[in-house]
Assembly symmetry: C2
Homo-oligomer: 423 residues x 2
Amino acid sequence: MFKVSWFPELLPEEKLIEEKIINIIKKNYQQIWYTPIETPAVERNSVLTAKWGDEVSKQIFWLYGLAQWCEDKKDYSLHFDLTVPFARFIIDHKNELTFPFKRSQIQKVRRWERAQKWRFREFYQADIDVIWESEKNFEFYDAEIVFTINKTLQNIFSELKINETFTIKLNNKKIISWFLKWINLDEKILEITSIIDKKDKISQEEFINLLKKERLTPNQINQITDFTKATIDKITPLNEEMGKWINELQNLLNNLQNLWVSNIQVDFWIVRWLDYYTGMVFETFIDNNRKLGSIASGWKYENFTKFIDNKFSFSGVWGSIWISRLESFIFEKLELNKKTTTEYLIINFPETKKESLNLLISLLNQGKQVEYYPNNDKLKKQFKYADKKWIKYCIILGENELKEWYYLQKNMITWEQEKIYLK
Amino acid sequence: MFKVSWFPELLPEEKLIEEKIINIIKKNYQQIWYTPIETPAVERNSVLTAKWGDEVSKQIFWLYGLAQWCEDKKDYSLHFDLTVPFARFIIDHKNELTFPFKRSQIQKVRRWERAQKWRFREFYQADIDVIWESEKNFEFYDAEIVFTINKTLQNIFSELKINETFTIKLNNKKIISWFLKWINLDEKILEITSIIDKKDKISQEEFINLLKKERLTPNQINQITDFTKATIDKITPLNEEMGKWINELQNLLNNLQNLWVSNIQVDFWIVRWLDYYTGMVFETFIDNNRKLGSIASGWKYENFTKFIDNKFSFSGVWGSIWISRLESFIFEKLELNKKTTTEYLIINFPETKKESLNLLISLLNQGKQVEYYPNNDKLKKQFKYADKKWIKYCIILGENELKEWYYLQKNMITWEQEKIYLK
């Protein structure tokens, strides 16, 4: 292989499925007005690393040539996600956009990571965001983002005839933050949620031992154990702030119910990279394949653009379908073959070339997928080519057929022939 | 602006047009079986520079991070066209493909160039190719490529209602090569064709002076002057090879005639970067805007993949639409506004939220583009938002309407209201 490793490349039959998936996503996103944008593959390092610095600089591909070329000796790199470029887009174009601004963006991103299964160095993201000036709030958009992602995924599964269900796990980060603040553990949020994550796989005793290792007091451990049993219907807020955010989550659930989204599950322990987002958060899992990881994520964030330019502050809510991961799963399910990609082949007869090419044009104009066999080869060879390419129908328009003004449409599986009269 | 210069970025209303253009291209390419592929943005430098070495290394963006990271210290860069990655794709996947193999590839490429008008550092290409093992030949595909590019461009212009015509200038490079060989000038092909290119803008005397400056003999100058008057109908081949290639060009014209392609003009002096291609060549110009440059190009090439791996040799024919250039022209023609991007806004009334969201779902299921106003703002403010976003219709489903089981559809230009009954 001359290809660069860990930059995946699809075969044509897989790429056709990917295009189908992307088209379904585009249609669903744009129907509810997430207008498409596309940003360059390249951004300034000062933008890319503004918020997370070192954490991110390990992940970006630096562009060597460009930095040399530019007179100001600034450095540039490839984007590692679509959120930072979008924040930059908002700042650059704020006077040309109407807020709340709803965008969709489907592009590849590149990350300089140790590669492993389901983790590539180049992959597709399909993002939607709503963005508004920070002093305002738009709670409904939390629901709209979840609704749109859910609808899109259901469309992908049904159109590709993938018989699988999925569940959206939903939380509001502020609930767990305020809970842990209440018991003086907000500094240990990552350690504690990672222990909670193991809870269902280990015994109660092991679970408590893990918490003890983090030097939690018996009271803290009790509080956490109680909280793991909480559900959204039966939760007692420990303070006013917690109550407020439980309320926000409850509102979101009501909105989702009105939008007929039912494959939802509240999970108070769902958290992500923590300084990024500030409210609602969701992850989506295929019910029979949790190992695959999340196929769609999203969250709410405040003061989103400040890290680029302190003068401007926008807030918003984001959702994204992890296309590359989802499609690896779909490719395994579909047992791809080439049968479905091609339709008609017009057999080459030099005596009727003119009429055959006219027929080609007329079938194309009817929206059919069709090609003309390029050479005057023996019939046997032409049919063999059709077989190799899994072509469904061969079209025969030789001298005999032309005399009576019809052509034969030969089914390449059953070998049945249909007579079709020319107009 | 925090954006990197010379990497263009479209506003949403422009990006919507670009998506339309790309969809038309995809539909036309795939209908005649140019199956889609997509290659990574990154290739090995050994692949990218294999054929042209220094010439190309000035144009590529080197990836610094990746080179450091990889254990074998190999260097990588961003692709500067789609042809070299496709050659690499063919070599890597030759056992998984059926030949002749027809591919389409629509992706951005990046070139480290001095930027100027119509020349960007990142731009879209929309390529089609047919590839076959080198010992064979498929003359018909020359015509199929020109036909497909022509049909696609006509579709773009008609669907976007751009009232412009274009002409495809066609040649076979071997004709001019053999002509210049015959008069011992094949080493000066670039100099001479660039003088010919000026011919229509200067006097006959100036033209001859320019040729004299290149130290051409009077006889050579006479031969060239004669040849500039040649047409495909009235050309006398000076040697057997020239005759052979005039014949090939004549065949291509016949095939194109059978395919109803009429906006064709033979131009014996159309040439391009010379060691790249070996036969048919075309460039496409908008009749009323020659300054824009070619909007679609193509050519035939032999022994296409040898530069990557000497063991394998494929030949083929290529065509490409220069989307980024074409769309700059289209944006100027269209006088873009936001009027056409949005359709329905459902007005927010808290008392009928449930029914309004049901209506949202039902309109989405009908394929309409529709959104729900997110907040319970005053009616005036909601209508103002609709105006700012150039929304065509507002949908009013308040308590009064709900009682009688209808909603009002308000035209935002005429302010007329239509009563529509709920099902």
